[in-house]
Symmetry: C2
Subunit: 159 residues, 2 copies
Amino acid sequence: MNTLKKKRSKNERKRVLDSYLAKKQLKSTKQRDTIFDVFFNHTDDHISVEELYEIVKKRNPKIGFATVYRTLKLFKECGLAFERNFGDGRTRYEPVTFDGERHDHIICIDCGKIICFNNPEVQVLLQSLAKSNKFELSNYKLELYGNCDSSCESQDHSS
Amino acid sequence: MNTLKKKRSKNERKRVLDSYLAKKQLKSTKQRDTIFDVFFNHTDDHISVEELYEIVKKRNPKIGFATVYRTLKLFKECGLAFERNFGDGRTRYEPVTFDGERHDHIICIDCGKIICFNNPEVQVLLQSLAKSNKFELSNYKLELYGNCDSSCESQDHSS
DNA sequence: GGTAAATTGATAATGAATATCAATTAAGGT
DNA sequence: ACCTTAATTGATATTCATTATCAATTTACC
Ligand SMILES: [Mn+2]
Ligand SMILES: [Mn+2]
Ligand SMILES: [Zn+2]
Ligand SMILES: [Zn+2]
């Protein structure tokens, strides 16, 4: 992803957020700006609320974690972020990328590495599976767990 | 499932539990017997700990809910029960059936109805998907959400 | 029956997430 | 710039499911 594209992305996101705030009669605040900057400039995906809060605090120590919770939920509501719940009990968020399509994850049970994937075959198969059970599929949750390779065991991607 | 088969199943389960208790130097207790009976005679699948506790209390009001938690975990450890976590924040358990194979679920977002399914195609597809990402697949979580039909909305399967 | 170790159940503690609420701040009109 | 109003914030309390604690009880074995 080149610089131009990234810049455009940020502006687009800002526009999405601003129009959502206007539509819902919400206000633009310094705290939301700060969290916006930190969240969308963060390179690592699938950050937990606590992790993001720790980074945000460095920029502005006065921001409370309730605000971080609230703001991430706001990003989710306006379609800028996905909310994730892998098995570890802490909610994580990741930016919605350009295409905006859903995707699923492969998680290494040794080092915590997470790979995102979007496989159309899976979608088709699950759709027909639901149909054959007389269900109208509206959403699904899919997570693969395994080992990424034999050399990752000494690492630790968890916080 | 006829009566003979069900009876054999119960005896087999009892044997599995007893041999596990022996192997781990655990003890057979009245409480474990009661919870065993209630859990494996319960027809509805995917029962929550709280729900099971309420039924167990009718049989023996002195049993504490900590014991129900502990015993369901015991059933899981010895391979007699699956532990489930759908999105509602409460852990559920279901008996492992004869074949013992894993299975996944379709959940109606209107009435809470849950259908279990075991589709070999899914397994194969996910296996190859993991392989193509250089992962050794060891487990996965798959839940489909949708509507079972148009006549279920007035019902309520939640507790 | 006696002994050691496992079990139980009442209760406290945990931890992530949400609710509360007084003080602050943003936005729009004047 | 001031006023008014409603949204926002952050410290704190609360919720809720689950786990930890621990003295009293019960089981298994001799
Ligand atoms: Mn992802
Ligand atoms: Mn099932
Ligand atoms: Zn790994
Ligand atoms: Zn339904």
